[in-house]
């Protein structure tokens, strides 16, 4: 009996219908043999449309559906569930991707996009016509998640997963967990310090039996897929045992000849290659900076608790899912950008925050007391098409917050904010109001006429055509210029490259769908959280990390995962048992069997992974992959070459 198909063509708001004439597409397919009904819909994924589909399937007794909308990566499960709710086996639904692969890819050619869409929908109909009811396979899912990155996002995700009785492996590349938050003093909106936040998260984590924390560690290789990823983790030794007390450490630091700019203070202070920990840094165990250390042995001579001969260690772990929370880097200005690296009164916002934290009673930088401070906003953000076009979200708030702290902590501070429009959205607006009340001055530049930093006779000036005073040229002599640097993706991309995680136009890691699948990636079983995905403040990072933890848990919580019943089938009549297919199979899923007294190939369907590697090698074309059979593919080719 021929199929009774329903076809749904989505407008996707205007994402599809702005470039594709969806009604024309519907008309072009409505008379295709087995199409019983066809509809266009504003949003195929909407609740109301889903309900309508269920009714259509039941009332019209449909035996298959085709949905033509966005990428199946987004809504395959949505429409499979619709089918199931209508008691239609979900493998009778076929998807046509007419957004990413038609309307968006050909938004420059509406006629071409419409013609392509017609053929894509026809091809999906051709496939749906042959679709059969199938039963999914089940595979074991390991109840463990690897969280990569121990910043606030990774820590919160680890706690949330541990609460759900999942084994958690937290992998942090640095010797200490905490990420950027551990570097900040007082923060907005709660006024807690970074130390308070990280200390409380670490205290919650460290006592848990189902959490393993690896610091100084990186994932160096992985294999497997959702349900069972195998990760190799390389740990660099700290070279210092826990028995090393503060006195002994100090002695070792005193003799260490290597001095490097301290990344913890963004280089405004230096440290030795051997160093201790700040209040916010955990675990409380000193370490040696492996990249900076020359292994001269001076420290070993003064401390019996140091052993430079220790080697890197490798462990292999199995987890069901991976949660990426590798965070961001602050933007580093180009040399000369607003005087950076050329004028010694110019620093970045992260450096300024450390300067405030490290100074008592007077704000001193490079031996000079600071009174007049200029903040230049949007450095490395909102750069237009040529650079980072996004807004980094955290920085207006953090700058105003830091400026207020400076004013309250030190005497005679005058703040001048050279901005391009202040974005203290939501509750953060109260800060802006407070800063105005405290007398901070705001001067606003346009995008094409930014503020300018210049120096004369060792004095630094900032100049702007202030649009708040009819573009009058204003200039202020200042003691310090703070460049409000935005967020950029981590410069070290090893781990995201290893997992082949897609990146967006802004080079941050990309989710499948910003609104509907905001923490899932194109790689099944891998989620993203926090600022590795886009600029976020702490609250936003934590929101995304809790949602990623829940998603990761949903993959593995049942102990088993449904996998596609896509396996190969042997045509016993055509098969002559030549052994080619079993040799080609990388999983040993094909063995010799009997059909009566004839030798034929037999497939072990629990072992077959559905790759189809065995199919092209069969000399008698006796082997086909379910849902990707020659008949289905050739019918699709027929449809794609129809005249329209």
């Amino acid at each position: 009996m021929d199929k009774r198909l329903g076809v749904y063509i989505c407008h996707c708001g205007g994402n599809i219908s702005d470039y594709v004439d969806v009604e024309k597409v519907r008309e072009a397919i409505e008379n295709d043999g087995c199409v019983l009904m066809s509809k266009t819909t504003q949003f195929a994924c909407s609740d109301s449309n889903q309900k309508e589909m269920v009714l259509d399937i039941q009332e019209q007794n449909l035996s298959g559906i085709v949905v033509a909308s966005c990428s199946p990566k987004l809504h395959l499960n949505t429409f499979r569930q619709v089918s199931e709710r209508a008691d239609l086996n979900k493998y009778n639904y076929v998807h046509a991707n007419i957004r990413e692969q038609a309307s968006w890819a050909h938004s420059d050619d509406k006629k071409g996009a419409t013609e392509k869409t017609i053929l894509l929908v026809k091809a999906a109909i051709a496939k749906a016509r042959l679709a059969e009811s199938l039963t999914p396979n089940k595979i074991m899912a390991i109840n463990a998640v690897a969280v990569i990155g121990g910043g606030v996002a990774g820590l919160k995700a680890a706690i949330s997963l541990s609460d759900k009785n999942t084994q958690v492996v937290l992998i942090e590349r640095e010797p200490f967990i905490g990420g950027r938050v551990g570097q900040w003093g007082e923060m907005f909106t709660t006024n807690q310090t970074g130390n308070e936040l990280i200390s409380s998260l670490y205290a919650q984590l460290v006592t848990r039996k189902n959490v393993q924390i690896y610091t100084n560690s990186e994932v160096v290789s992985y294999s497997g897929s959702i349900g069972d990823f195998s990760l190799k983790i390389e740990t660099t030794p700290r070279y210092i045992s826990q028995d090393c007390d503060a006195k002994e450490l100090q002695k070792a630091m005193d003799v260490c000849p290597v001095v490097v700019p301290d990344p913890f203070t963004f280089g405004i202070t230096n440290r030795k290659a051997i160093y201790g920990f700040a209040a916010s840094q955990y675990p409380k165990q000193a370490t040696i900076d492996d990249a900076a250390c020359t292994h001269c042995g001076a420290c070993e001579k003064v401390s019996k608790n140091i052993d430079l001969s220790l080697q890197k260690e490798m462990v292999e772990l199995h987890v069901g899912s991976v949660l990426m929370a590798t965070g961001f880097d602050p933007y580093t200005p180009e040399n000369g950008e607003f005087g950076y690296a050329e004028n010694e009164s110019v620093i970045t916002l992260p450096q300024f925050k450390k300067l405030i934290d490290n100074s008592e009673s007077k704000l001193i930088y490079k031996g000079k007391e600071i009174k007049n401070i200029a903040y230049i906003y949007c450095v490395g953000s909102r750069q237009g098409d040529e650079g980072n076009s996004y807004c980094s979200r955290y920085c207006c708030t953090s700058t105003i917050h830091s400026a207020i702290i400076a004013k309250k902590k030190f005497k005679n501070i005058h703040n001048f904010h050279f901005n391009r429009g202040i974005r203290t959205y939501g509750k953060q607006e109260v800060l802006y109001a407070e800063s105005l009340k405290l007398g901070d001055l705001y001067l606003q530049a346009t995008d094409d006429s930014p503020a300018e930093v210049y120096s004369e006779n060792g004095r630094t000036w900032v100049k702007v055509n202030d649009i708040l005073t009819e573009s009058k040229e204003m200039q202020v002599e200042v003691d310090l210029v703070v460049l409000v640097t935005g967020m950029v993706p981590r410069s070290d991309k090893k781990v995201s490259t290893l997992f082949k995680l897609p990146k967006g136009r802004d080079r941050f890691l990309n989710e499948i769908h910003m609104k509907l699948r905001p923490v899932e990636t194109a790689i099944d079983g891998i989620t993203i959280a926090g600022t590795c995905q886009s600029p976020k403040n702490v609250a936003e990072s934590v929101n995304s990390s809790l949602s990623a933890a829940t998603k990761a848990f949903s993959y593995i919580s049942k102990g088993e995962l449904e996998t596609e019943p896509i396996v190969v089938e042997i045509d016993a009549v055509k098969c002559t048992w030549c052994n080619e297919c079993s040799t080609a199979c990388p999983f040993d899923a094909i063995t010799q069997g009997l059909d009566g007294d004839r030798k034929i190939a037999v497939v072990n369907t629990t072992v077959c992974k559905g790759c189809g590697m065995c199919t092209p090698v069969c000399p008698t074309d006796a082997i086909d992959l379910v849902t990707f059979s020659s008949k289905e593919i050739m019918n699709m080719i027929d449809a794609l070459t129809e005249q329209i």
């Binding site: 692969q101 038609a102 890819a105 392509k116 990309n510 080609a584 092209p616």
Partner: protein, 137 residues
């Protein structure tokens, strides 16, 4: 074969669910345009393409077939590269038998974020197919 009056050649792309599909989708998301006469059929792994499908595509009027191969990224294992290469070799023999120019079948390894590379490859394949149809006439 492509006729000179066409703006673009008709190309069938065999792409894979986990690796090259995300790249092709991302090309759309980034509005990296390529000719609209490029159609994708999705399969699990590039080493599972039957030469008979490729031959059928030429028979039905496709000017070119492009295999977006999984290469070393294949989720089914490293033998994918060699096996995809083997099926391309086998198809070339069939193409020669039918006097179809081997260059009308192109293969390139395509990772899940290779959107720009996909568009570049497709555009150059399209140009090649249009040009060779031109010289054939």
């Amino acid at each position: 074969m492509a006729d000179i009056s066409k703006k673009s050649a008709k190309i069938l792309v065999f792409s894979t669910e986990k690796i090259s599909d995300p790249a092709i989708d991302m090309a759309g998301l980034l509005k990296l345009h390529y000719p609209p006469t490029v159609y994708t059929i999705t399969i699990p792994c590039s080493s599972g393409i039957k030469p008979s499908w490729i031959m059928y595509a030429y028979e039905k009027g496709f000017d070119g077939v492009f295999i977006a191969a999984d290469g070393s990224d294949c989720v089914f294992g490293e033998s994918c590269t060699e096996k995809t290469g083997a099926l391309v070799g086998k198809t070339h023999i069939l193409m020669q038998e039918k006097q179809i120019e081997p260059a009308r079948l192109r293969m390139a390894a395509m990772c899940s974020v290779c959107s720009e590379s996909f568009v570049k490859q497709i555009k150059s394949f399209n140009e090649y197919l249009l040009k060779s149809s031109n010289t054939e006439k």
